[in-house]
């Protein structure tokens, strides 16, 4: 209960921080939040939401109550969507909805050095360096700038760790997984957040 309360408090604080950041851009050119603080806030929301889904929905129903399966083919299998899919669907919806919001501009994705889906392997130099850094330096984030398609971005990479047994079992058992010896608490990949910056 205490954990849930602190999670909700964190979520609320982050929502306030992000709202403040967006509102600040409406009133002037000087943002009151740095790209790094904004990325940290966004990541806290994303990470907490996914942890809640993973622990309180997927792990509870699949591992504890054993009433339903989770599957990447959740529609065909009439199962729960995987936490990584829930995360990606959210990222796609954000990209879709923010297209019509001139003051909201960021993107994020879940990537890994050992991706089940090869499309989620790092592509840019920053992604590769960031994923390697967070895997080698547990508890630390990676921040850099990069230029893609002529636009400069502040890019942040956060470690994505195995928070529940389902994370480990799913990745270790998947036929397309290039790594099958993950343990609970291991860094399995990273969340990459990009915010366009001037210059």
């Amino acid at each position: 209960m205490k954990q849930l309360r602190s999670t909700l408090t964190g979520l609320t604080l982050c929502a306030v921080a992000v709202t403040t950041a967006i509102a600040a851009s409406d009133v002037g050119d000087s943002p009151s939040i740095t790209p790094r603080a904004m990325a940290d806030s966004l990541h806290l929301v994303m990470d907490s939401d996914r942890a809640v889904y993973t622990k309180k929905i997927v792990n509870r129903l699949v591992k504890k109550d054993k009433v339903i399966k989770a599957s990447e083919h959740f529609e065909d299998d009439q199962a729960l969507a995987l936490p990584a899919q829930m995360f990606r669907f959210g990222a796609e919806m954000v990209a879709q909805r923010s297209e019509d919001m001139s003051d909201v501009n960021f993107s994020y994705s879940l990537q890994s050095l050992w991706p089940v889906n090869k499309q989620n392997a790092p592509k840019t130099d920053a992604e590769k360096a960031g994923l390697e850094f967070v895997a080698a330096n547990k508890g630390k984030n990676y921040y850099t700038e990069e230029t893609l398609g002529g636009q400069k971005y502040f890019t942040a990479v956060y470690a994505d760790t195995a928070v529940a047994p389902v994370c480990v079992s799913c990745h270790n058992d998947h036929k397309d997984s290039p790594k099958r010896d993950f343990k609970l608490g291991d860094v399995m990949g990273g969340v990459v957040i990009r915010i366009p910056v001037d210059g």
């Binding site: 083919h73 796609e92 990209a95 993107s107 592509k123 893609l148 398609g149 058992d173 036929k175």
Partner: protein
């Protein structure tokens, strides 16, 4: 003298140019018929819309954004369902900026140019067949089974297509390995409408509660001449059994008009009051797309496929196939199709094993859903989202949806009765399609074997991993 003549000619040329320019501009901005400006014939998918350029070119002064909007207006939903593996958001993501430079996947016209018959291929694609190469040149590294395959073969036999790349994903193939050609039971799912009626917020259940009506309860206004046969027909339908009285179809503008008007000839719009999804899907297909564009109904005479000469001028509305008052879905599923369609595949239907099953079902020798009509395959029963919260199994009235490519038909139609391997082979064989699936497929596609080899590969890797972890 020569100079004066030159001036006169120049003035005449100028006046003519201005006059012609003005006339063309006037026609462009205000004219109803703009076919004069058509740069080339329309593709088979759009040829019916040639007399209303405004369907796509909704703003004479607009640019690419107008065309993009028009594409999405009609095809946007098809991109989302059942699964679009190349959504727009994939290409707006900065990490794919390099791919976007290779191919502008944000604009439909990058791959689907109109008015260019000389480069238009099947499914309205105007890019070369090896387009996948731009982003997937290293596919053999990820999937060794694909090594050596030509990039011109990606879309063959339903393996991949850009907008629904995952219809036949590897795990799906594995799940259906070693299925018999004919499944047991071989049966279509039952349609759902009554079962979800209470959840359909737009259904006028307050005016027409679901309760059986008989001919004596018909609510046609006093003085309306109603033939006894019409009443009898209505009384035997699902409409009468479900409380759908005369006024439900024959009264116009019930919502907004204080004085509802009776019409003897309800049209598609009236049907849509209750069957909005069916009408919407009908208007997305080649049967109803002209109605959606505000044009007169399609007629077989305007079709590019062979049609019966005596059907040339028949107009395609709901009532064309669903005979009014009788609304016999069995007639709509076979006879209504064959009344117009006269191509080899259609003519071969009555000698096909599918038709034999259909006849046996009609005679009561087989359970409902065992027969195979034209509609069983071309208007499959699919689970369709009514909204974000409710779905129901309905007949997809967009009969064009599963033809481009035809492998789209495998999941909603073939797999109710046939194994996946058989279905893939059957739809890859044009000769078998011509003879309406009489006899075995003469083509074999290697998809299932590839999936089985991949399964074996994964098993070996898993075993090797377990062995190494138990013997460190």
């Amino acid at each position: 003298m020569g100079t004066r003549t030159n001036h006169t000619l120049w003035a005449a040329w100028l006046l003519l140019t201005i006059g012609l320019g003005t006339a063309l501009a006037w026609l462009m901005l205000t004219g109803s018929d703009k076919t004069l400006f058509m740069p080339g014939p329309l593709s088979p998918g759009h040829h019916q819309l040639g007399d209303n350029c405004g369907v796509c070119h909704s703003d004479a002064l607009g640019g690419g954004e107008v065309l993009q909007e028009a594409c999405v207006e009609c095809h946007g939903e098809d991109r989302k369902k059942p699964f679009d593996s190349h959504p727009r958001t994939k290409f707006t993501d900065p990490r794919n900026a390099d791919r976007l430079e290779q191919i502008n996947a944000l604009q439909c016209v990058t791959c689907h140019l109109e008015h260019r018959p000389e480069i238009t291929r099947k499914n309205g694609v105007t890019l070369p067949r090896d387009v996948c190469f731009h982003c997937h040149s290293d596919i053999a590294e990820d999937r060794p089974s694909h090594a050596g395959m030509a990039f011109t073969s990606c879309t063959d036999a339903g393996c991949h297509n850009f907008h629904n790349n995952r219809a036949l994903y590897t795990d799906f193939l594995v799940k259906h390995l070693h299925e018999p050609d004919l499944l047991e039971p071989a049966q279509l799912p039952a349609r759902e409408f009554a079962a979800v009626l209470e959840e359909l917020m737009d259904y006028p259940a307050d005016r027409y509660p679901v309760e059986p009506l008989d001919a004596d309860m018909a609510d046609a206004p006093a003085g309306t001449a109603v033939e006894a046969t019409l009443l009898d027909d209505w009384a035997t339908t699902a409409h009468a059994r479900s409380g759908v009285n005369c006024s439900a179809c024959h009264l116009l503008s019930r919502e907004t008009n204080a004085q509802p008007l009776w019409t003897d000839y309800p049209d598609t719009e009236n049907c849509g009051d209750c069957h909005d999804l069916e009408v919407k899907r009908f208007q997305r297909g080649k049967h109803g797309m002209r109605l959606a564009a505000g044009l007169p109904p399609m007629t077989p005479g305007e079709a590019q496929l062979p049609m019966h000469a005596d059907a040339t001028h028949s107009q395609l509305t709901c009532n064309s196939c669903h005979t009014p008052h009788r609304y016999d879905s069995r007639h709509a599923a076979v006879e209504a199709c064959l009344d117009c369609h006269d191509d080899t595949h259609s003519r071969a239907y009555t000698d096909s094993p599918h038709h034999l099953l259909w006849q046996r079902e009609q005679r009561g020798e087989l359970p409902a859903g065992s027969g195979v009509s034209c509609a069983s395959c071309h208007m499959p029963r699919i689970k369709y989202d009514v909204n974000d919260w409710v779905s129901r199994i309905m007949v997809d009235h967009n009969q064009s949806a599963d033809l481009s490519p035809n492998s789209k038909m495998i999941r909603p139609a073939c797999l109710h009765c046939h194994g996946l391997a058989f279905s893939i082979d059957a739809l890859a064989d044009p000769d078998q399609i011509e003879r309406n699936f009489r006899g075995p497929p003469g083509v074999h596609v290697d998809s299932m074997e590839m999936a089985e080899r991949d399964l074996e590969r994964a098993r070996e890797e898993t075993d090797a991993g377990e062995e190494s972890s138990s013997n460190p």
